[in-house]
């Protein structure tokens, strides 16, 4: 149980691009950290400890925690690196929360970053799969997502066009976000006519590769309201990282780890009807079909009902529950930062600092993280203090 009530009090991110040759990795991290400190009117001296994360093998640097101190500001401070695949950013966020909620530190800086342009993403992701059983026939990220989409579409009758509606929504939302990488709208036809990569996933169904970083400050109750007039209080987190070989996954169901994580989170936070009670969601949806099956896993509707929710505009800006006002992962994917960006963007919505991408009157926001072999993290933030 949490000893200390904990809130996010400041956030910062880079302007995300497919490649940022004007900065090295350390300098990229520095941009996000500086913007975060400015957002909270803090200096690096205010920070008690730092958590940082990125994908193993993406930049080929082992000791990122110490290597990056000119960027993170962690010189002679406690710093740890954590990395859990796609969920790295949410794990970084959860660690930042743990360090404050446990009473160990008052102000913790959490950083996620990636310079995707520096290596072969497919090769690097392949190192996440078991070398003996999975790697030889299942390289890269797309085929794993493709078999999941195939199973969902066959079982529930959803179509590639339904999935395309998710990409269209996220790309439209991204036009409101000055930090997003892909800020050009696409149509259903554009998505449907884009090249098939791995059936049923096409080029415009999937996330891009991005250079970018994100930083967030977690603070204890004693400091939170002094730093931020409307902090985003953490009301619960849940992490479910269940499978190891790809064949172990339950292809018949819809992201079981997300079902378990969200159920646990809703129970902790007393949420009974997520669609009604939550005002906005920032979800780690790395490809379009996830925006159907995974929102069913989140309990927003029954099995096979997500396409209707999408076409009815329920998850659009102005809808009952806007999803990904930032444009989400289909518009920006600096992987080690991606899941922290979801937490950061959810906090931005609660704080009311979203500018053109702000959803009106947000009191409750949910952020998710997704990783490799179908594991999930969720975080619930509110404008009110936990009891």
């Amino acid at each position: 149980m949490a000893k200390e009530k904990t809130a996010i009090v400041a956030t910062g991110q880079t302007h995300h691009r497919s490649s940022r040759l004007d900065v090295n990795g350390i300098e990229l991290i520095h941009e996000a950290v500086t913007r975060c400190l400015e957002d909270g009117e803090l200096t690096i001296d205010d920070i008690d400890a730092v958590v940082i994360g990125n994908m193993d093998h993406f930049e080929g640097i082992n000791y990122v925690d110490t290597w990056s101190i000119d960027g993170s500001g962690a010189f002679m401070k406690p710093i740890i690196k954590v990395t859990t695949g796609g969920t790295t950013g949410s794990t970084v966020g959860h660690c930042g929360y743990h360090l404050v909620a446990s009473g160990m530190f008052d102000k913790v800086l959490a950083i996620g970053w990636e310079k995707n342009s520096e290596s072969d993403t497919t090769a690097a992701i392949t190192t996440a799969f078991d070398p003996i059983w999975d790697r030889l026939v299942f390289a890269g990220a797309i085929s794993g997502l493709a078999v999941e989409a195939m199973a969902y579409m066959v079982k529930y009758g959803a179509t590639e066009k339904d999935a395309a509606r998710v990409a269209v929504r996220d790309r439209k939302h991204a036009t409101n976000n000055p930090y997003a990488q892909l800020r050009k709208e696409v149509s259903i036809e554009d998505v449907m006519n884009s090249p098939m990569l791995s059936d049923p996933i096409k080029l415009l169904d999937v996330c891009p590769r991005t250079d970018g970083a994100c930083a967030v400050v977690f603070a204890s109750e004693q400091y939170a309201e002094k730093i931020c007039d409307r902090p985003a209080w953490i009301h619960g987190i849940s992490a479910k990282h269940p499978y190891n070989y790809l064949g172990d996954y339950d292809w018949e169901d819809r992201l079981p780890s997300m079902q378990m994580a969200s159920k646990e989170l809703y129970a902790k936070a007393g949420i009974k009807e997520p669609l009604k009670e939550i005002d906005v969601m920032e979800l780690y949806l790395p490809y379009s079909c996830a925006g159907l099956s995974w929102i069913e896993a989140l309990g927003l509707c029954g099995p096979g009902q997500a396409p209707k929710l999408l076409w009815d505009g329920v998850t659009d800006m102005g809808g009952e529950l806007p999803i990904n006002p930032s444009g989400g992962v289909i518009a920006t994917n600096c992987i080690g930062a991606t899941a922290l960006l979801r937490i950061s963007e959810a906090a931005v919505q609660v704080m009311g600092r979203g500018g053109k991408r702000q959803v009106p009157d947000v009191n409750t926001a949910l952020a998710s993280g997704f990783g490799g072999c179908f594991w999930s993290d969720v975080t619930l933030l509110k404008s009110t203090k936990p009891k």
Binding site: P131, M150, M196, S198
Partner: protein
């Protein structure tokens, strides 16, 4: 790809890390692979507590953390749970696209096996179809001793 910022050339430093590895398969996985090699048979392990049958075999149950000692033979055929036709090229996979990756639930198993599907036109592959292992003539104790699964 060169980027320029005003008059400043932005440089990239090209390098490569090539590290050889030798991964231990372990006694449990080795027994499975040697059965493929010597007897063209697929063996699994069964959890004594929750009865889950694992292919590939596991020494410890994912679901209840029990030690597993019991071996059971499963069929070399089963049901295609899901699949994808991969159409992009990567040097990491043997073979040229397009090719089919599938998850096969073998008869008698409770977990799927990731493998290649072949011997069928791409537009004829269906979720739920039955498939059977096609073994290599020359086998070396490797997951690719099964060349692929073909529909039956």
């Amino acid at each position: 790809m060169a980027q320029k910022q005003q008059d400043q050339e932005l440089l990239q430093y090209e390098s490569r890390i090539k590290v050889p590895y030798t991964w231990s398969v372990g006694e449990v996985g080795s027994r499975f692979l040697m059965e493929l090699k010597e007897n063209r048979k697929i063996w699994a392990t069964r959890c004594p507590s929750c009865d889950m049958v694992f292919v590939p075999p596991k020494k410890t149950c994912t679901y209840c953390f029990s030690d597993i000692h019991e071996w059971v033979e499963v069929k070399d055929e089963g049901v295609l749970q899901t699949f994808t036709v991969v159409r992009y090229e990567t040097p990491l996979i043997p073979g040229k696209p397009p090719y089919i990756i599938g998850i096969i639930m073998l008869d008698g198993a409770d977990t799927g096996l990731v493998h290649l599907i072949a011997g069928v036109p791409h537009d004829k592959v269906k979720v739920g179809m039955r498939v059977k292992a096609v073994f290599e003539e020359k086998r070396k104790g490797h997951i690719l001793d099964i060349n692929h699964f073909k529909p039956i």
